[in-house]
């Protein structure tokens, strides 16, 4: 049977973003290695992006709007995703992949991982909406609902990750399109973005990288 353009998108889910990023002079390492070595499957940059002293208001139940640092705790990781809750296709696909990846970790490993979603659509995504969305995928206390209506702060967050987003012009009904960088980032306790996974990365691949990163961090806490 002939294979159609859209069929090839199955492959494109992983390949196209990787190739694009590679074309942008970002170094891709270890693609396709699926063993549990120290090699990461996701994209790593040289030099890595840094979140520096970036902190964003967290509307999750445990934080209630207090700012949190965008980095891993102690020997842990913060996984960061820029998205919006009216997104029915790309965002839930990635968050479901992440949910499945976290389920592959043992409880001690999983405790060291926090998940943060930064809404790029803070007007529609109130803290309550964001919490409802994330609670669908993650355990209470595991997720952070990062939201700011300060456009300059949101732009700084984008820039820290090399991400971007765009809100379209509202139509007559007030609806508008949203586009956003759809990568999932892993940030270590020093605010270094250690790896990023493009849309469509398999849960197994994410889990494999998480285990590698968590092992490395516990072996050399000062590395």
């Amino acid at each position: 049977m002939e294979v159609l353009r859209i069929r090839s998108l199955t492959f494109g889910r992983v390949l196209v973003p990787i190739l694009l990023v590679a074309a942008l002079a970002v170094i891709v390492t270890g693609c396709g290695s699926d063993d549990s070595s120290t090699e990461l499957n996701g994209i790593t940059r040289v030099p890595p992006a840094k979140t520096g002293n970036l902190s964003l208001p967290d509307y999750s139940p445990q934080s209630g709007g207090k700012k949190v640092a965008v980095r891993g705790n102690e020997d842990g990781l913060m996984l960061v995703y820029f998205g919006y809750t009216s997104c029915p296709d790309v965002c839930p696909t990635t968050l479901a992949d992440l949910r499945n990846a976290l389920a592959e970790l043992d409880p001690a490993q999983r405790e060291r991982v926090q998940v943060s979603m930064v809404t790029v659509d803070p007007d529609r995504d109130t803290g309550r909406v964001l919490n409802g969305y994330l609670a669908h995928f993650f355990e209470p206390g595991e997720y952070h609902s990062l939201r700011t209506t300060d456009q300059a702060l949101l732009n700084r967050a984008d820039e820290a990750f090399g991400a971007s987003h765009k809100l379209g012009k509202p139509d007559a009904d007030g609806n508008y399109d949203v586009s956003h960088t759809a990568l999932l980032y892993a940030v270590d306790p020093k605010g270094t973005v250690e790896v990023e996974w493009p849309f469509g990365t398999d849960a197994d691949v994410i889990a494999d990288d998480l285990k590698t990163l968590l092992d490395n961090n516990s072996q050399n806490p000062d590395a």
Binding site: A160, G168, T181
Partner: protein, 186 residues
């Protein structure tokens, strides 16, 4: 989506096979259109949008031109395509964030949003409405995450795993085809 279950039960109780309405069309018969693996993604309680996916095969070639679900489920249904690099939005009159790839960590400095950013950030993904999806003769098109989807807007309730959503598809040649989407996690 709670309303759906009783509805489906009633329909079944009447001995009517919902899918059978379109059976002429869905078995590669005279119309040549076959729709399989129809599924919806479960939504979060506060979501106002959802997505339905499926696989369409056409023996003679056809185009999907419209999709509709009951208004008790969603206020509006559209055919959408997920795009990469912001094709979904016009670049004019939009608020664009910084997209620099800079990795400096001088986060305390003034933002530089009014400087002219080149498109060197990670590619952006969005989605746009399309007028139709073409299925060339003898080929199979899969609506799947990251590609095409049937977009449900103005959702009236949460879509839960196991729910069934009747979908009316309109094809240029085959006409109306009724299918059921089952809500399931990937």
């Amino acid at each position: 989506m709670k309303k759906l279950v009783p509805l489906a039960t009633v329909v079944l109780a009447l001995g009517i096979f919902v899918a059978a309405c379109g059976s002429d069309d869905s078995d590669s018969g005279s119309s040549g259109v076959e729709v399989t693996d129809v599924w919806a993604r479960p939504t979060t309680p506060t979501a106002d949008a959802g997505a339905i996916y499926m696989t369409i095969n056409s023996k003679d070639g056809d185009s999907l031109t419209a999709a509709k679900v009951p208004s008790s489920i969603a206020g509006m249904t559209q055919i959408h395509e997920t795009t990469t690099d912001g094709e979904a939005t016009s670049s004019e009159d939009s608020m664009e964030s910084g997209d620099s790839m800079s990795s400096d960590d001088s986060m305390g400095s003034d933002d530089s949003m009014d400087s002219d950013h080149s498109m060197e950030g990670g590619s952006m993904m969005g989605m746009k409405e399309v007028s139709q999806i073409d299925i060339p003769a003898g080929e199979t098109v899969t609506l799947e995450p990251g590609g095409f989807h049937i977009m449900l807007l103005d959702l009236k309730g949460q879509i839960k795993a196991g729910d069934t959503i009747p979908v009316t598809l309109t094809f240029e040649k085959a006409g109306t085809v009724e299918v059921d989407a089952t809500a399931q996690d990937q």
